[in-house]
């Protein structure tokens, strides 16, 4: 009879104290940096320390860069917050990309069509807000309605809604393009600044950062302390338990997705009216998908999401800087980002489980 011996096996851990969990995470980041250094030296022969310095420079190097970092952080965090209620309900909403685009498109539409008739910027902003939120909410409502009534697959549905939103945007860009034939709209209302979010203290992005900070706190309270947040958690855990407790599951699904979509629409308005002042098909640029990762990495905790979205934005900006200043291919920085993410996501395994090696006992 063959007598094989398992070398190790995996045992579930009891809950780790938070500081130990964070020590594991810290170790993972250190390991990731070491791994990145090795790859860098082997592939490019560059000094890895220079590389990290450049990464840091890319993120915080100048005041301008720092503002961009915080702006991008705010937008990514905002989208992540928006998708969180849906994911907490275990509704696989990968349609944030389209929901944000729908909001941005609606916002741009208002800016272009009403830009010459409305002169009060506050009234303009109010209309933009209502229309963008409504458009995002509609994009969230449709898949939820079909899911609740005919049990359609929300993943496919939300994914397809993305294409609809992006194609619609592409269509309108051709209609409004300036100058004709350029395929671009260019700055909307460049002379009047109607529909542009106000600068605070001369800083363009301050208002976005403030709004998202408020949103983070509000969503945290909503999910943790409100009745609706409780309903979302119960539905996410088990629909049968929800029904048993007298929760109208269909209604909760629709309500939550409308909320998710509306928040996405709001971010769309921040993009079109606050950062870009224009509309392009890559306005959202995949952040609707990255946001899903941010939300899951933070285990749906809005406060932790600040950290996870910061990490992703930092890596992205840093890697971009590395690519330009060392004349490396953009793909190389993506490799580095990939390595770091691999370690960070992978270390969660070691927080939940531990590996036990078989004690080297006498050979049987």
């Amino acid at each position: 009879m063959k007598n094989k011996r398992t070398l190790f096996h995996i045992v579930k851990r009891e809950a780790l104290p938070w500081y130990q969990a964070w020590m594991i995470r810290g170790a993972a980041i250190l390991l990731a940096l070491v791994m990145c250094s090795l790859v860098t030296v082997m592939v490019t022969g560059l000094n890895p320390l220079d590389l990290y310095k450049t990464m840091f420079y890319g993120a915080f190097g100048t005041e301008r860069k720092t503002w961009v970092l915080f702006q991008k952080l705010a937008i990514l965090l905002g989208i992540s917050l928006a998708v969180t209620p849906a994911f907490k309900m275990r509704f696989w909403n990968i349609g944030a990309e389209g929901q944000v685009m729908a909001g941005a498109l609606a916002c741009a539409t208002v800016m272009i069509t009403l830009g010459n008739t409305i002169t009060s910027n506050w009234l303009m902003l109010l209309i933009m807000l209502v229309v963008s939120v409504a458009a995002g909410a509609l994009w969230g409502f449709l898949p939820a309605f079909f899911k609740a009534h005919w049990n359609t697959n929300e993943t496919l549905f939300t994914l397809m809604m993305n294409y609809i939103a992006i194609q619609l945007a592409a269509y309108f860009i051709i209609i409004w393009e300036v100058p004709k034939g350029s395929g671009k709209i260019g700055m909307i209302n460049q002379n009047t600044h109607i529909g542009w979010l106000p600068y605070i203290g001369g800083k363009q992005y301050a208002i976005i950062i403030i709004l998202i900070a408020i949103l983070t706190v509000l969503l945290h309270i909503y999910l943790k302390y409100s009745k609706q947040g409780y309903e979302i958690a119960v539905v996410g855990e088990s629909e049968r338990t929800a029904r048993y407790a007298g929760i109208k599951v269909e209604w909760v699904i629709i309500r939550t997705m409308v909320l998710s979509g509306a928040l996405c629409g709001f971010i769309g308005m921040l993009l079109a009216g606050g950062t870009d002042h224009t509309l392009s098909t890559d306005l959202v640029g995949g952040r609707g998908f990255t946001a899903v990762m941010v939300s899951w990495l933070a285990k749906f905790n809005p406060i932790v999401m600040i950290l996870t979205s910061f990490l992703l934005v930092f890596l992205q900006l840093g890697a971009k800087e590395v690519a330009t200043s060392f004349y490396l291919n953009e793909s190389f920085s993506e490799i580095l980002t990939g390595i770091i993410l691999f370690f960070i996501i992978g270390c969660e395994f070691f927080i939940t489980y531990k590996i036990q090696f078989a004690k080297s006992s006498k050979e049987a």
Partner: protein
Amino acid sequence: MEGITKRFGSVVANNAINLELHEGEILSLLGENGSGKTTLMNMLSGIYYPDEGQIYIHDKPVTIASPKDAFDNGIGMIHQHFKLVDVFTATENIILGLDEDGKMNLKEAGKRIKEISQKYGFEIDPDQKVYNMSVSQKQTVEIVKVLYRGADILILDEPTAVLTPQETDRLFAVMRNMQKDGKSLIIITHKLHEVLEVSDRVAILRKGEYIGDVLTKDADQQSLTDMMVGRAVSLNIDRPMPVDPKPRLEVKGLTVYDELGVKRLNNINFTAYSGEVLGIAGVAGSGQRELLEAISGLYPIAQGSIIYHNPKTEKTEDLAGKDPLEIQKAGISMAFVPEDRLGMGLVGSMGMTGNMMLRSWRKNKGPFLDKKEPERVANEVWKELEVVTPSIDFPVRRMSGGNVQKVLVGREIAQDPAVLMTAYAVRGLDINTSYTIYNLLTAEKMKGVAVIYVGEDLDVLLELCDRLLVLCGGQVSGVVDARTTDKRQVGVLMTRVGGKTNEK
């Protein structure tokens, strides 16, 4: 098995267990819930791997790291929850996963299955599809599957939990035939009379420790219970006479269909009185779940009415067609302990507080949750029912089965209900916890609550309840006085639809 230890996190499920199984014997493995019986057997069948210790078969050390290793060593386990593919026939299920060379030879396999069946006295049709089978037929397929793979050590995990008394007798006969053939069997069960009836030897576990073994002929119910729980537990369930019974819930002509249009309940009529325990007996799947869910507004009702007599207002109200929220809003206080505790009654990832909230979160005004009241109830349940948990915020999913049930029953009773319905309230619980539940139910009855107890253990039904309603195939096949009837009579009613014997 020598010095077997298995830990789950900080919980030691098995601590240095030594267990011996002789050739050609039937060994009962007895223990309270959470005493580590299933864990121990799962290590034998390769589902878990022991943290410490060594398993020997015929004095040879073996490593069992996967179910396949277990099969190679002639060990087969029949799990409590069957692992069969519904759309396959018996034969297809039995040969599934065997890697034999060449193409599948269904005919040859069918022949061998027939041989095995005849040898041990099974009744099995190799070409029948699993979804057409009764629970006991499915179990037969599981046993044959294990035998087909040449197992000579069989482990049965609570095999009688889903069977009628008659089916249980048949299973025991088969087990004895296998024993005569030199097979060794381990049976896990909670039912002491079955232990005494079928096994040669009893091994007892308590809290993950091996307590000892005793030859069945030297044991009786009392001595086994003592070994199991470590102190004497009275086997008598206290059953006071009902006080001032008044109609509380009248079910009239209730008929329901499932999603596929199959009639699940057919013209059900009965009345539940205040201050009594109405037992509902029946083979699993006779319509018990549908009945309770229909009453609580969770199952669509095709015909019939459910009349509720409100003890506070003396008014009557028809519950048919109302959903749980409407029932709640109408001030009807019904408590329901469903069969699927974590999938329906509780939220696994939340602690006790979050789960207490499941019944009360709507009560306070405004958009925010009131956590104080649920916290108070959680603390009360924690203390009163001796729930073992590190804190009231510890996820209930990670508690043991008995504690999960205490949380659920505790919450339902805390609502101060007028009707309390429980489905398999003691399934999988150890004797001590079971008695805690019986006493709670009896206390509710004495408070004037109409208690409806759906159960599977006839001994308990006969000792706990005042009246018994017997369901069979979605119909009421009889209502009997639990004080005067006996097991045989109820057993007959359980297999008889509308006066005719069910062929199944």
